[in-house]
Assembly symmetry: C2
Homo-oligomer: 394 residues x 2
């Protein structure tokens, strides 16, 4: 029987020039805006940042620039600075770090405790969802943070961590997706973010917590991801039509991961990300083919009805790579193989390196596995299997 | 290029027994609830209504029963009665009329003007979205009102009308879809509501204002609609698995129509519904095959790239009826034919009568066409074509 919950999604403005429509969605009472952005010189390709500023004037704008991943300290100090400024709304424009900074500030500005108190696995309190309105304007196509209910905060160093501030109500109220912001995204970032998106879509599609809505949206997102990721990263990065395809895929991945969760690749990524300084999308890309190869192998070993359901889904994605659809049960195994081949091909074409090239070696494996998890993967891999995956990718 | 807006959707609780979880979503501050329901004896099959009451106690509950379609008078008098009762939230449980009553009351209780002032085509003011929270619990699978942004109010009689109160923010904050409420829905209501759902899904799928999100959700909804409508209505109305399929389809239809709009069948339905007392789903069901037959015929006559896009979509739905997928352009025409055949078959099996049996005859046609419209249909049919459709269905 069907049983699921589906949380809030942002109201979406999608398309070239949509950033100019921000005025139509600002609440009537808006007087003061806290604008959190990536450095202006990065954003202002094609005068887009100026377009945004023109559209929100003549409101009072407090502008903060984000240079790195948000940390508890950076959030607490922004909250302290603006707590008494009667901010009506937070607008964040930039990559995942900027969006998560804006999300966390909008969530903490009405609260009188440090953000650590609410961080999963760190604090002891639960956020109650009370926040001020938040508009997310992503300029990379990757994390899908414009549609998720969590902000990831990192404390670097030996006692470091990477943890989430999470509540259903933290889903941004609005997401403005304007592909013109994305055309200057460099190749390596496009590749890594694109692989993060694709991983999120595939993992939420085969998640044990998926539902028909996340299935429909994940498949739709993967269609765009498969069609446009390699062309954008390699052939024609300035092609707006390609860029909008990737932006759409990223948006879908945010919605599906917020509702269905993720799998073993992201279970690895959160462990490795806390231990090594490797871009998140590179970790995902590097582990995608190998992790899913082993998941499919284990599913095939015990083809219960439940496992067959997941194999059918993997096969459906394999077929998508050839612009076909799975049309019979006999095709499941061959299409699963196509999927793995295509994932390997993708990793190679996008030049996503083995993890060994980032300093991970055999002696790192224990520490990685200790903090890794399978999340909602259709197979809960044993420690031994997690080890096999890592050894094959260092 | 892609360009679209996508409005708020409700937070969804879907599945058997979900009604008991209402307490988990009521805002913390909730003290007083206005409960709008269909008559309790209709609702309380399997003790479901009692389950709801148990779950929301010990809050203060004001209970109103809805017996017919909401009218401006019924809304104004409910608003007047409860305006000063400090209601925190409105909960509506019942069919489309009940949900729309709750939606309209939650939207008007903070306003000091009669609802007519905000009705499209009647009043001169625009609703500003200010409302109190609203939870919709549908007990039929039909209108999708649990996910739409409008409430339809009717004034019966000679100067009568059927008009919408509409604002993006009127999308219910929560929709609880519990299929157990639906098992006692009588066959004729199941058939008519089910055809309303399917019409909404198909029309929003081929709408000129569709987008990739509405496409994915409409296809997903149609899959369930096609699989379960006839079995539920004819073979096994008490089958909860079938009922949940129809409930899911109805929910999807609400989301897609709110974002992509509808087509000529609904353009007819709003005109005919104002002039004759015929169930909305019966009008839709009766006109579906014939309207889409002519739309497809006109699209085939001028196969531009744009028209080919719509034909491909119609064909995709035809293939869905045979549990297949469109795999080449050559199959478009044959699959469009399958679609029309299947629609005719569906109308017949569900015993949806010709409109002539409800008193519509040749002399009614001018009046119907005068108020009919094509909405977002892929073909804007001429008056002459609208006449052909009606003449073939009286």
């Amino acid at each position: 029987m069907l049983s699921f919950n589906f949380t809030k999604i942002p109201t979406i403005l999608f398309g070239i020039g949509k950033v100019k429509e921000i005025n139509t969605i600002l609440p009537n009472y808006t007087k003061k805006i806290l604008l959190i952005s990536a450095p202006k010189d990065i954003l202002n390709s094609k005068g887009k940042f100026d377009q945004l500023m023109e559209a929100i004037e003549p409101k009072t704008i407090y502008h903060e620039t984000v240079l790195r991943e948000p940390s508890p300290n950076s959030i607490n100090s922004l909250v302290k600075k603006y707590k008494h400024s009667e901010i009506d709304i937070v607008v964040a424009i930039g990559g995942g770090s900027t969006i998560d900074t804006g999300k966390a500030v909008s969530a903490m500005i009405l609260h009188d405790v440090p953000v650590e108190d609410y961080l999963e696995g760190i604090g002891t309190k639960k956020h109650d969802g009370k926040k001020i309105p938040f508009i997310a304007i992503p300029t990379t196509s990757g994390t899908g943070s414009e549609a998720t209910k969590n902000a990831v905060l990192s404390r670097p160093g030996d006692d470091g961590f990477k943890k989430s501030l999470r509540h259903n109500n933290l889903v941004p109220d609005y997401a403005i997706i304007d592909p013109e912001f994305m055309v200057t995204c460099p190749r390596n970032v496009t590749s890594a973010c694109g692989m993060d998106t694709f991983t999120q879509l595939l993992e939420s599609y085969v998640s044990t917590d998926s539902n028909p809505i996340t299935d429909a949206l994940a498949l739709s997102g993967m269609q765009y991801s498969i069609q446009y990721l390699i062309p954008t990263a390699i052939e024609d990065p300035e092609n707006l039509h390609y860029r909008e395809g990737l932006a759409y895929a990223a948006l879908m991945s945010g919605i599906t991961l917020a509702n269905a969760g993720l799998g073993t690749v992201h279970g690895f990524a959160s462990s490795i990300g806390g231990l090594f300084d490797i871009p998140h999308g590179v970790i995902c890309g590097s582990l995608m083919a190998e992790t899913n190869r082993l998941t499919i192998e284990r599913l095939l070993e015990s083809p219960s009805d439940e496992n067959l359901k997941y194999l059918r889904k993997f096969a459906e994605v394999g077929a998508l790579f050839e612009n076909k659809r799975l049309s019979s049960e006999e095709q499941i195994e061959i299409n699963c193989k196509i999927l793995i081949d295509k994932l390997q091909e993708m990793t190679k074409k996008l030049d996503l390196k083995r993890l060994g090239e980032y300093g991970i070696n055999k002696s790192s494996i224990d520490a990685i596995i200790e903090k890794a998890s399978n999340k909602n993967n259709p197979i809960q891999h044993s420690e031994e299997d997690l080890r096999i995956i890592l050894e094959n990718r260092i």
